[in-house]
Symmetry: C2
Subunit: 445 residues, 2 copies
């Protein structure tokens, strides 16, 4: 009988070199694998650049060398190479590999549809998305998703430390939190069902169980928009916390998360930040202004008419971002006390002025990346608001029942992972911050 | 202008006491919040047990005490209490809180539908699931999901360390990996779409980009089974790794993950393990036997007839688990080389015997918790198998295209998070290891 012991074999030679535990002054024998990113044939000398998860690595051989055996090489082949590492300042990572032999695992059938080995993938967004799995092989393209990984990782790690519990709530259900029009409908064993557009009801219910909860999972919105900042399926970073003093507690946790995450990115994702030329924003504090104040300030400052007093237009959000950046130096600004009529029924109205809610959005470079706020925790108050809005409670019985049995003051937020990635990296279109975006026209790949 | 600085206010008094930084010999003033779990009125003395995310805490007051102000209390209220902590061996955590005052945040409208304050929630599974958000408030019920958190956390942390990249792939698509019957169908902007039953195609495509990838996300299976170990929506822990030597590399990573995770659970989830009476399995090594060998061994040992030579019946899996537990002491056993006709088209056949695949299942206490294996990475070999099986390639163009442009030898696996939780905790039914289970009859809560 054979046994598996759980000893994983990393590429030890490479790890040692990359960790700078030794200097590659001496020639050192090394075996590494990778995909052939480019081949530069300089006549006698051939440079073969390997693409690996750790980055690009330069291999080199001389055609006239009788002692080596190099088969016919092609870009896109996946290979394992054997050679000697030697210090070389001009090569990536400060060393190159003088090839002895190459084993080929696979050879492409066709030339690449995109020139992925270029530093900047010069192609239209359409061509990029049509050939997505290939486009992402470009070093800059894939670096975006390491940054995205760092954001989700920072979110979870920070919240574990703050005593939150991770939850997994169902995406298929009979009814959704915000109700109504923007739901994808499906048939679930001969019954009508919907895809959840938010874990809102579930995370609130789970505050009664774990006090503080979070979830990082897909949400689905059948909204018919076609903009650079909307997707019909995206990853939502959600949390909900009980026993808050007021809704500022929620903004404090979000600010703490951002600080923690930018430090994590700086520490563990420096390579990708550099590839993308990202300068992380410095956060010491984030200004907090009311919806009304921000709106009026921007109208005054930029000589704009206020068209809709209940909502912010994208253009207005941009100007708010700009104004408070200039005034406070912060790329982020919390906009608080949104009008009640624009917030869902479960939002807590301000007791001092019930026309506004104890809620907020977080703008980052003038783009909304978070919506959050305090929720109603009193059963009667919740019913009252539902009645006032004439909302159909059918299907919400389980959500409402929770409030009959005692719920603490609580609130939370949702952060769009792709939006935050997009703004942090400085991308034009949210689809560039999504591995396989889903929009009205795009259901494949 | 106000600012948010990201300083979160944890319950510092409580943290200090729980971290044993001070001994509560002296009376120490303390403020904590929580839900009233039980009230025990002993005549003059009243014990009020608070339920918090950290566990249960005993508060006490004397009715005759003139200096305190205690309002009418009810189980299920959410409150904040002020009192003095005092060492008390018989109380949870070794101290109790002598109450001075209580502030009430909310009061239940109705008595609880379940006796959640009992140690063991004595109720039917149906009643538990019908009142799920309340049932989970039971201390034992909720502990299950802390263990579940630890498993997902261990999976991610271990794989980050092993150089994997976290990915988020779409759950709505035009076509799914295994194709065919067991898909939930939906309408996506007037086009037919399906919910993904696995991230299989996407994670394979992303091996060409990141070499190693993982995802922890929901999957959807419209299978009409009604058993104790199946769900129609569950959380799948998936990984896929490139440049493998053979499929044992995958089993090594899984074994490494299990070892890492059990250590994490022991270190950070000791309280919940104790509440649930869970003894973690000790893993030093996991035996690996072929499908054929395991089947024959069990037939011989337990005097069973082999009915179906191509698959394992649940009863057979149980006996295999039992047999190798007795023989090797391991709760886990890898079953390798599953018959090709029972594995999907992308599975790599064994070149030595094409009737079997280079694949495996992992059984834990006789229950399958993982399916994995090496995949075909050669374009022609893949097409050949697709043709042989007469599979419709429409909708698979993007998946297939990736293999035209070079893919490394690779493989991976999927682990059912709820199944692993169920077996680790020793639960009878997978629904108990799911916050809000989805099965043929259950679409709410």
């Amino acid at each position: 009988m054979e046994f598996i012991t759980g000893l994983t074999k990393k590429e030890q030679d490479l790890e040692v070199i990359l960790s700078k535990d030794i200097e590659v002054k001496e020639q050192k024998q090394i075996t590494i694998y990778g995909a052939i990113h480019t081949i530069r044939d300089m006549g006698d000398v051939v440079f073969v650049i390997l693409r690996k998860k750790e980055g690009l690595f330069q291999c080199v051989y001389e055609k006239t060398d009788q002692e080596i055996e190099i088969p016919k090489l092609k870009e896109g082949q996946t290979v394992q190479v054997l050679g000697t590492a030697k210090a070389e300042e001009r090569a990536p990572h400060g060393f190159e590999i003088r090839l002895k032999s190459i084993e080929i695992f696979s050879t492409p059938k066709k030339p690449m549809p995109l020139q992925i080995s270029r530093w900047k993938l010069n192609t239209s967004l359409e061509a990029n998305l049509d050939n997505r799995a290939i486009a992402l092989r470009n070093v800059k393209e894939r670096a975006i998703f390491k940054i995205q990984e760092g954001i989700a990782r920072g979110f979870r790690d920070y919240l574990y430390d703050e005593g939150f519990t991770e939850i997994h709530t169902p995406k298929v259900g009979a009814k959704s939190a915000e109700g109504g029009a923007n739901l994808f409908k499906l048939e679930y064993f001969h019954r009508p069902a919907v895809l959840q557009q938010s874990p809102q009801f579930y995370k609130q219910m789970m505050v009664g169980v774990f006090d503080r909860v979070f979830e990082t999972a897909p949400v689905f919105r059948a909204e018919k928009h076609n903009t650079k900042r909307h997707l019909n399926e995206y990853t939502s970073l959600d949390f909900e916390m009980g026993y808050i003093k007021d809704f500022r507690d929620i903004m404090e946790v979000e600010t703490g998360f951002l600080k923690y995450t930018f430090k994590l990115l700086k520490d563990k994702y420096a390579k990708e930040l550099k590839i993308l030329g990202v300068e992380l924003p410095e956060i010491t504090q984030i200004p907090e202004v009311t919806f009304k104040e921000a709106k009026e300030q921007v109208a005054k400052e930029y000589n704009r008419k206020i068209k809709n007093p209940y909502d912010l237009e994208p253009e207005e959000e941009k100007l708010i971002g700009k104004y408070y950046k200039e005034k406070t130096g912060s790329d982020f600004v919390f906009i608080t006390h949104y009008p009640s009529k624009k917030r869902p029924f479960y939002a807590m109205d301000d007791p001092k002025d019930p026309s506004v809610t104890l809620s907020f959005d977080l703008l980052y470079k003038g783009l909304e990346i978070t919506t959050g706020g305090q929720r109603i925790h009193d059963y009667d108050m919740l019913l009252e608001k539902i009645e006032k809005r004439k909302i159909e409670v059918e299907g919400m019985e389980d959500y409402l029942a929770v409030f009959k049995y005692g719920m603490p003051p609580h609130g939370g937020l949702g952060i769009g992972l792709e939006r935050l990635t997009m703004e942090l990296v400085g991308l034009d279109n949210i689809r560039q911050a999504t591995l396989f975006p889903r929009d009205q026209s795009r259901l494949i790949p």
